[in-house]
Subunit: 153 residues, 2 copies
């Protein structure tokens, strides 16, 4: 099955790009990133904090099938409704450190929209380690859930 | 005159490293980065906000010799006393966008300490544009002021 979420990672760079087109109006796609109840569903996470504003911050926690808890957190540098979220992102209890994420939301048609994520890492090595994880499959599954959940809102 | 603050920028990378050794005990060097009155003096800036904590944020404003105001702001992702500040940094009214900054503070001797800044940019192009500015001289002058002001505290 074709993966709808595409990852572009050029060799030797400390960044990568993720793109996905959704069969969702722009405002619904954006809501999937800012409304705690919707985030919780498609990410399968507990939303502990999600302050959707410039200089806000966020914190999520997931529990894996073994019962282990995994934390994620960061700050929101810039927030522009239906357009852009610039944030830091870090997995706690991992050794990857924080990364800087630029999320851009754009309308394609009245019923379709596109998400472009530009992730910038502390080093090429950290980015490459993350790409060794089942990252591509994971984000595809999550985005597929997003599409299914949000279209029925 | 030798520049005491060193900048290391490898060709083709979207990051750079800044290092400086100070004739200051570690805790005084760290205070120069967190106490608004001290920051204001050595940076020559107005400190509008400086929340020294994880998920805090900061905002500075300078007035240049022509009377123009320049804003700077960002979030604080991680804050560890006398050790580490990880923050975002953006000049408002510039087109560089935000960068991710890792500041590491370390004791060398009881009377000397070292600052290492690792700055990660959105792109190689943006980093190279910033390096075209009188960046090296500016940060050296600022760090020289820091040294003079803080040693007399």
């Amino acid at each position: 099955m074709e993966l709808k979420t595409q990852i572009h990672a050029e060799d030797g760079k400390q960044e990568l790009f993720i793109t996905r087109e959704f069969d969702l109006p722009l405002n619904l796609l954006f809501r999937a990133y800012i409304e705690p109840e919707i985030v919780a569903q498609w990410m399968g996470t507990k939303v502990i904090k999600l302050e959707n504003k410039q200089h806000g911050s966020w914190q999520f926690e997931t529990t894996d099938p073994m019962g282990n808890k995994h934390g994620f957190h960061g700050t929101i540098h810039e927030f522009s409704i239906n357009q852009r979220i610039t944030r830091t992102f870090e997995m706690t209890n991992a050794n990857f450190g924080p990364q800087l994420e630029f999320l851009e939301f754009e309308q394609l048609t009245l019923q379709t929209s596109k998400l472009t994520m530009h992730l910038v890492y502390r080093s090429v090595e950290i980015r490459d380690q993350l790409l060794q994880l089942p990252f591509k499959q994971g984000i595809n599954m999550a985005h597929n859930r997003l599409q299914e959940i949000v279209k029925n809102l």
